[in-house]
């Protein structure tokens, strides 16, 4: 038994870390957040060169054939450096869906195009988690209509992989009948949209859509949890560093017991999340009977701990944490965004109860 990362996994994560340390420092983040896509594109290209988009695609389709754990390790780093990347929807969830929910031909075609780089998927599965008033897609004669809300990955998507009732469909972003409404969210490093579709031609994936959509949601939950974990880890690190640096009453605030205990509480709550995240990611590929439950556990628990740390780390920074000067809010908002997508903690805990037969 070995509960930990392999050397390869550590190397993979370190290479992404080193790249992002250089490419995604705060000044770059500010530029992305203000909507300058050039710098974000440069970061995408760098990730591409590292092979990041390929990690989760099977070798048979030209990918690197790694698992959800590797994807989570990458996403943790993207969260740690609040990098503007659609990795979770485009190269995590979409790939997971295509792996499960289609026949070999369609899989080869679409994954091949993703590997080739001429297709980047956005995903819309919000209604499969819980449909808000009026939202939802219906399929009729090979065309799809209705609203898909909170579609993820809009920054780079050329196509969208969408849950439409019992089906899973792909549409071209440029197709007739597609109306996009850009959403402004708290997190300016990722782009989310509403899609209103009217009779849009689509490729309906053959095979059973239900398990595919569920897999997409599970993988998405694990990756959002990884993102929050990475962001929370960085916030704790920043809080400790700030506390050592900042003096009040002639001593570093890190020497005040109240500040020390706030940091200790953060560390004590965050550290077990790392193991939970590793296991939840690992289980998706290796312990399938526990995959959905562990996705719920990681998403809900890391969302709660993440919120606690987002607030407490800000508090340690005092007024500075509240300003834009230190940019701490990018991490705060990233954690806030992850919390709500694909089911908030109450929803994911409810799903966990259902999975265990504790509720209907």
């Amino acid at each position: 038994m070995y509960f930990g990362l392999s050397e390869d996994q550590i190397m993979l994560q370190d290479s992404v870390r080193r790249f992002l340390e250089a490419q995604s420092e705060l000044e770059h983040v500010r530029v992305y957040a203000e909507g300058d896509d050039a710098l974000a594109g440069q970061l995408q290209n760098g990730l591409m060169e590292l092979g990041v988009p390929l990690v989760f695609i099977p070798e048979a389709q030209g990918g690197l054939g790694m698992g959800v754990l590797e994807a989570a390790l990458i996403q943790e780093m993207l969260g740690r450096f609040v990098a503007p990347s659609a990795f979770t929807p485009a190269y995590g969830m979409a790939v997971a869906g295509l792996n499960v929910g289609t026949n070999a031909d369609q899989r080869n075609v679409w994954l091949g195009r993703i590997v080739g780089g001429d297709v980047v998927m956005g995903v819309g599965v919000t209604e499969a988690v819980g449909a808000r008033e009026g939202a939802g897609l219906t399929l009729s004669a090979g065309a799809v209509s209705g609203r898909a809300s909170f579609v993820m990955g809009a920054e780079t998507a050329t196509h969208f992989l969408l849950a439409a009732g019992d089906a899973l469909v792909i549409i071209d972003r440029a197709a007739d009948g597609v109306t996009e409404t850009a959403l402004t969210t708290i997190d300016k490093t990722r782009k989310t949209i509403m899609l209103d579709l009217e009779n849009v031609t689509c490729d309906v994936l053959e095979g059973s859509a239900q398990p595919a959509v569920e897999t997409m949601i599970n993988v998405g939950r694990v990756l959002l949890a990884a993102d929050s974990f990475g962001a929370a880890e960085m916030m704790l690190q920043k809080a400790v560093a700030y506390a050592k640096d900042r003096e009040q009453f002639n001593r570093p605030i890190a020497s005040f017991q109240a500040v020390k205990h706030m940091c200790a509480d953060m560390a004590a709550r965050l550290e077990p999340c790392r193991s939970l995240l590793w296991y939840a990611a690992y289980a998706q590929d290796n312990v399938p009977e526990e995959g959905p439950l562990m996705a719920c556990m990681a998403k809900s628990h890391i969302s709660e701990v993440g919120k606690f740390i987002a607030r407490t780390a800000t508090e340690v920074h005092g007024g500075m944490g509240f300003t834009d000067l230190m940019g701490l809010h990018y991490w705060f908002k990233r954690i806030g965004f992850n919390r709500q997508l694909l089911g908030g903690p109450e929803k994911t805990r409810h799903d966990a109860a259902v999975l265990q037969g504790f509720s209907n």
């Binding site: 850009a182 959403l183 402004t184 509403m194 005092g318 300003t323 834009d324 809010h329 705060f332 903690p345």
Partner: protein, 397 residues
Amino acid sequence: MNLDFTLEYQEFRAEVRDFLETHKDSAPRMSDRGVRSEKRRAWQKILLEHGYAARTLPKEYGGHGAAPDALKSRIIAEEFSRAKMPGGISGQGINMLVPTLLELGTEEQKQKYIEPTLTGEMVWCQGYSEPGAGSDLAALRTSAVLEGDHFVVNGQKIWTSTAAQADMIFCLVRTEPDAPKHQGISYLLFSMDTPGIEVRPLMTMTGQAEFNEVFFTDVRVPADQIVGQRGEGWMVANATLTHERGMLGDPDAALSRLNSIAEIMQKETVDGAPLMDNAVFRDRLIALQAEVFAMKFNGMRLTTSATQKKSGGMAGMIVKLQGCELNHRLAELAIDVMGEYGILFEDSPFIRDHGMWQTAYMFDLGLIIGGGSAQIQKNIISERGLEMPREPKVAKK
């Protein structure tokens, strides 16, 4: 315990309602409430005339001269809130400087500054905090050196709201660098038009610049523009900080926030079922409702203490800590119940309640950690309220 109002107060309430009904078209709209708005000043003039602003300030300085009556003040606040009408101007000039001048200013200063401040002609900002002096405010380093009949001010302030629009600043500076830190501070008043002042907006996590940084380079301030004596500034400022407590605003604001959340939960649905059907969210709503009620009744108790000219004691000391925390947690619940809609921000399509919830969630956190942070509030409660000892002095290395 008697929650009925006597005839006098019932009549007073009716009077306030009449006033609000009569003047409802004179109140500035939401978009027209900036510190420089003419409509706002016209409204302020009406309020001053009728005693709904500067109610208890002396007539000789432009106030209404009424006897302090906490119950009437509360009735005014309640009725303005119920009618959704804006109250009087409530900047730091009116709330902090004016009471300070009344207590410690010279007759000339009172004559010169109070009335234009009350009418809104003269807008003030506050220069207290510095980047290196937050919770340890007395560590401030902005210097003022007397050269002839002027102080020459150099340094930097932060957290200065309305600095860009202000005519004047009331400012703490260090005039006696060799004195113990609390005894070397002076309290100066000067024009924001004085050469050498630069104002830079300070953006916060809400995406807005609610505050500014203010930089002073050889700013020359006439030596008589001082309140109190040289080196007494800390005492003068503490008089002002005491007055800050008065800025409570709508006593039932938390309750109306709570009711808005209940409305969202009744109106909006997931998978066809109203959010209110979610027992977990409902339980959180009710738990917060109990806290909101507790704070509402705590506020009523404080009003009664004030009408009896008694100190509110612990009930007063905990208001800021508990109130900010409660508002923050209300916003947190609103965001959670809205699910994905909870992350919408600013002027996004589909946003609920004009985006107030995320903004409130962050801004209230700012209030918790900002000027007079939760940590400091807890020190005050434990030291003044529970008579626990101060932190002992640290040994020199």
